[in-house]
Subunit: 198 residues, 4 copies
């Protein structure tokens, strides 16, 4: 029943691709044209919005990594069963929620108020999404899971570190989130295995 | 004329996929970063927005179910005729309208004002979308409709129940909507028949 | 050079599909949850927003028709040359502009101020988009243009009528726009020719 | 390993297509229905928003060009390695940022305040995106890069000119950005080479 199966993951991927691409692009709506543009000028407005811009870039690159990872895991999935659909649904819900949490983090960083709480919320969201990916890897064929190997643990561990660090410094926590995204984007063992030849 | 037909459903599905994925992701725009973040802190803001978050998650998972169901029914459709296009067009209009109705329900629940009216509107919208799906199943080949069987009735009946319960309690009505989404996501007979092997 | 050509129209269609689906779904953002929900209740809010809802539904169905028509014309296009790209680019720009013009029309109808101006702008936008489609049909192979026949004229003529009627009544003009969408959705000779078997 | 490779660029392109189409369509959200519609009328509102409309149309056509160029370069890419993914990720981040920068430019032009700063920011953003494309062309097979030839330089040089002119006049800088978009849309050597037959 190969063709049926191919069709099935293809469909899940098409919808997931749509949600991921729209979620990544919607992030920009958190960047509002400031009312006081006239007084302060463009460069000081940008400087003032720097924390929001950093949160925005981190979220964008994280969703890009999620998208690459999503394709890798679905490439290794043999059968789309109801548990895959459920975990994937929760994952997409978390990803679509990123825009809101990024906006809260940006606002908190900009005002310097409750920023550690906001960074905790942000890191917890990425932690939950990361665990969803680990669950999806567990649902693949045994061989693929073994190939994926330690990658299943690296994401959740890094975001756990970001969650813990957020209790001390929001900026440091966001830096860990950003570094995690670049780590997965650049390390060949993490993102390029199997179907993206390097 | 098989290739022509394949192309036709493929196109309708591509546009429908786009509308469904965007509609699901746009829901997050209803979650506004509160102005009083500074005073109250992130966690109490989240607790205060809990009704909106519940409505948001219910709508997201419902659109996910609609998307799965949409693929199932179009898989069984032999010919995309003008009635299919019309019913599908109305269905997509209703789905794109979900974002607004979710926003109204979230606001009403949060303020505790007119929440039963808002829950009625919400359940009625899902009822209408559900009836569109039943109409689409009726437009498929006779065999497919028989296979779909009672599923054609379950959706409209559950949302009718949610509409009636909304006269007594908005929270209970939303709970029925959420349970309906999980029911369709997890029961194999509902979502996985035919083309999603379980 | 058949494969190259197929690839080319496929790409133009993929981007156009994306723009059309997003433009249709973004329309819902014009429907704002009213501030005075608490005082007036959900049903009277909906009744008050009825003109906006009518403009929203008309725009959604019109973009749906544009999408069907877009596929028909690109199905008949043999070579994607620079003029096709230019006209298609202007068409997509006009379609993406629909959301703004719909919002202006809805606001004007709701306040009963300058509504004929807004309806004129709305009908003119659809007129321009309709003319783009006629130009695209002219760029297809001669045979396809002859098959398309009078359809090339019907759209621009109907929207011209809507533009003229808008000088007398905004509501009547919007009604013509809505009837035009249903006309193209239901008449087999208009939307179903060639690749959507009826 | 040809099939794997095809799949890989196909995936990168699907996500990139989604981001580009959504980014182009989101631009319209910068056009707000003015509050003073009642006093001034539709036409004077449009006239007042003319600078915003010009920035909006320029950004839309520029993203359309980016999309055509993106397909051309990925058509010539033999292997999607980690550097391609990184440069493409930065490019998509810049494109998704266009909506915000367009909004800032529109607001600055409309108020006549800090407009040269805003035009500088806008031209710099396009310059950076243009350099990303040049980097991507460098990552393709040697043959394709030679075919692309001077095109690699034309984009960055034109946007550099726009950046410099922005120090004197925001309007003139925006005009160069718009002319650049039309130049790439209409010149066969720029956009149609290789896979879009002319």
């Amino acid at each position: 029943m190969r063709p049926t199966w191919t069709g099935s993951t293809g469909r899940v991927e098409a919808f997931s691709d749509g949600v991921l691409a729209v979620a990544a692009t919607l992030l920009v709506l958190d960047l509002k044209t400031p009312e006081d543009l006239g007084q302060t000028g463009v460069w000081s407005v940008l400087a003032h919005q720097l924390p929001t811009l950093a949160a925005y870039a981190t979220s964008f690159l994280t969703i890009l990594i999620f998208w690459i990872n999503h394709h890798n895991v679905f490439h290794a999935i043999a059968r789309v069963d109801r548990w895959t659909l459920l975990v994937n649904g929760v994952l997409l819900l978390l990803v679509s929620f990123t825009s809101y949490v990024t906006s809260v983090l940006g606002a908190a960083l900009q005002r310097g108020q409750h920023d550690r709480e906001a960074a905790t919320l942000y890191a917890l969201l990425l932690e939950c999404a990361s665990i969803c990916f680990s669950l999806l890897w567990r649902l693949t064929q045994r061989g693929a899971a073994r190939v994926a190997g330690r990658r299943i643990l690296i994401g959740p561990l890094l975001y756990l570190a970001a969650t813990l660090v957020a209790q001390l410094s929001a900026q440091a926590s966001l830096a860990i989130d950003a570094v995690t995204a670049f780590y997965f984007l650049l390390l060949p063992g993490a993102t390029q295995r199997r179907d993206l030849p390097s």
